[in-house]
Assembly symmetry: C2
Homo-oligomer: 111 residues x 2
DNA sequence: TAAATATATCGCAATATTACGATATATTTT
DNA sequence: AAAATATATCGTAATATTGCGATATATTTA
């Protein structure tokens, strides 16, 4: 028990759930929002900005990188992080597909 | 340790993270997708459809209801669940705002 | 009213996530 | 080469999530 039964669900369902995890923690939202306005940043920028420990920020960055929504390039002793354009577009489309599949009824009393 | 430091983040960041949790598990994606195509359903429908135990489905439904993305109305011994139109629109907009805030560069090498 | 039907909640076990200090690694500067 | 700088990883503790059997609750049917 306690382990998600991924085999019960479709590949698509598992993929969307994985992508959603990028947004499922406020620290990761903060990181993504920071990247949206600054285009790119390093771990240290985020430590100053968010007030979480360096190890914690590094861990969140790794999760975002594992999901693929950000990428990092080494520049000397620093690592420059930015959004991964193609993966961003892919995730955006997945969510749009779900959101647009719903046709809101005229009344709020749908059930 | 181990507890999310919500006080470090903005109300908006915490709200988006909360909404994202609706999508962060394949069973909840499956439930939402089932509701999108069938308009409304009861707990029992989902137990047959997904292959998870009744208690587990009930738990996921409660989470979705707590987030507000679905609503349930009692009908005899059954509870009819459906998507909450206004909340759906609200969450859709939150995500669209983030997704549209990003202007993809011409090249994939942004950093 | 007893049985059937449907859902919610409780309690527990297992796994996952969050957070961070300590430490390892790797590059640049002095 | 030593010191400084920046990040990643390890190990650990605490909390959260997932899943389900058992049970409670509530309505409908026989």
């Amino acid at each position: 028990m306690g382990v998600t039964k991924n085999d019960l669900f479709t590949k698509s369902q598992n993929e969307i759930a994985l992508a959603a995890k990028a947004f499922a923690h406020p620290a990761r939202i903060a990181i993504l929002e920071f990247l949206l306005k600054s285009n790119s940043c390093i771990n240290g920028d985020l430590v100053n900005e968010l007030g979480l420990a360096q190890a914690t920020i590094s861990q969140h960055l790794r999760e975002l990188k594992d999901i693929g929504i950000i990428q990092g390039t080494i520049e000397g002793t620093k690592v420059n992080y930015c959004i991964n354009p193609s993966r961003w577009a892919e995730i955006k489309e997945k969510f749009n597909n779900i959101f647009n599949e719903y046709n809101s009824p005229s009344s709020n009393d749908c059930c």
